[in-house]
């Protein structure tokens, strides 16, 4: 495995039902990379991302990880009774984060709904809460599945900044994305 690679997937493959979703896909990510997973609906971006995250074992190929990563999938991982604040406090405790939750909430534009149970939050507010987890602890690798979904203009600008900043700090991102990327990517993996 090449030095400095944060994660390396070689000749990955996935089968669903009797159908081969993708085969022989290789992904290598160095510090500062932004790798975009492209492909039509149902082409297997989420599946690949979950393999890279270690959520489902690849049906073919090898994955080598050097770092723990952050995960923001299609579903935000909020429990119905959690508010944005309690959700962040929860994971801050799990990850032993020192970060100031109020600051993060402000930065993510969640100050106002910070006490609203996630069941009543708007789609974009839920998404912002999930993305706010990225700020709790510094992890080199981010795995994001259509992170811009449901975000408004400010939200998208915010996320673009977060991504740029993360790359500048020597972090890397693998993201599944549709449409025109609002940010320059290092490489695209097409499924």
């Amino acid at each position: 495995m090449s030095e400095s690679a944060l994660i390396q997937g070689a000749a990955l493959g996935a089968v669903r039902g009797e159908r081969v979703l993708f085969r022989d896909i290789s992904v290598t990510v160095q510090a500062g990379d932004l790798v975009l997973l492209r492909g039509a609906n149902g082409s297997g971006k989420t599946t690949l991302l979950r393999q890279l995250a270690g959520l489902s074992p690849p049906q073919a190929g090898e994955i080598e990880r050097t770092e723990t990563h952050h995960w923001v999938g299609h579903s935000n991982g909020l429990k119905a009774h959690e508010t944005p604040r309690t959700h962040l406090e929860h994971w801050a405790r799990v990850w032993g984060s020192e970060a100031s939750i109020p600051d993060i909430l402000r930065e993510m534009g969640l100050r106002r709904p910070s006490e609203v149970p996630s069941g009543m939050l708007s789609a974009g507010q839920k998404r912002r809460t999930a993305l706010a987890r990225l700020k709790l602890v510094a992890r080199k690798l981010w795995l994001l599945d259509e992170p811009f979904n449901a975000l408004d203009r400010d939200g998208q600008a915010l996320l673009v900044d977060m991504i740029a900043g993360h790359r500048a700090d020597g972090g890397a991102i693998i993201a599944a994305l549709h449409g025109t990327a609002p940010i320059e990517a290092t490489r695209e993996v097409v499924l």
Binding site: G17, E18, R19, V20
Partner: protein
């Protein structure tokens, strides 16, 4: 032997030949023992007379249903560790057969109990430790099948089923123990055949007149059930192959 059969294709080849023989032999033997049991041997003394002829189905099925759960758990284990597809196919095939024999054991026993255990039987039927352990066994089988039926993909069904079967197996002794503790006094037969070997002299031992056809019948049932299991396995494998072909057509289209 297993390593040879491990490969599905070899299994298909083997079973194609084996099934007719095994089933045929099984039917023959169990048929003979039934004939012996139902017409030839004299009525069993102090066991309800003629009704006790139920023994020739009851006892073999009783032994078999225990054995079959073992088989289910073992093949689940094999699949879970070595991811041996055939083992999963086997587990899947064993479940319904095992459930069937468990039900058969219970049914024949119940019929047998009606006259033998008398009027009180109605309340007794659920008040006997051994009867209860059979019921619990039935539930382990049914639960296994229900779980597999509920999960959407074969892979998931296989793994979930395997976990359940293994957890069930390690719980079985405790369940059995608790049930026995619950009613240390069972009105049910002590297992006299098991004892038969060393305690042949004892009066409680079953007389060879019954024992021989019983054992032959047991052997026949074993053959019969394994034949049926292989049959189901073949059906399963055929089904999977058919799915594969169909899907390939779909993807090409």
């Amino acid at each position: 032997m297993w390593t040879i059969l491990a490969n599905p294709h070899r299994f298909m080849g083997f079973s194609k030949v084996a099934i007719p023989i095994v089933i045929g032999l099984g039917v023959l033997l169990s048929g003979w023992s039934l004939y012996q049991g139902l017409w030839v041997v004299p009525p069993v003394p102090n066991q309800g007379g003629d009704i006790a002829r139920a023994m020739f189905i009851h006892v073999p099925s009783a032994w078999l249903c225990m054995g079959l759960y073992g088989g289910l758990a073992i093949s689940s284990f094999v699949w879970f560790i070595w991811r041996h597809e055939l083992a999963d196919v086997a587990a899947r095939a064993i479940a319904p057969i095992g459930a069937g024999y468990t039900a058969l054991c219970f049914a024949t026993g119940a019929i047998w109990g009606e006259p033998t255990w008398g009027k009180a039987w109605r309340n007794v039927i659920l008040y006997d430790s051994r009867l209860m352990s059979v019921l619990v066994l039935l539930f382990l089988f049914i639960g296994y099948m229900a779980l597999r039926a509920a999960l959407d993909t074969r892979q998931k069904g296989a793994r979930a089923g395997a976990i359940l079967a293994m957890v069930g197996l390690i719980n079985l002794p405790i369940i059995k123990f608790s049930v026995d503790l619950w009613k240390e006094s069972t009105i049910h037969q002590p297992s006299s055949v098991i004892r038969f070997g060393e305690a042949a002299a004892e009066s409680s031992g079953i007389h060879p007149v019954f024992l021989v056809p019983l054992m032959i019948g047991f052997l026949g049932q074993v053959l019969l059930s394994s034949g049926l299991i292989m049959l189901l396995m073949r059906a399963e494998i055929f089904g999977q192959q058919a799915d594969a072909v169909l899907a390939r057509r779909l993807n090409e289209a």
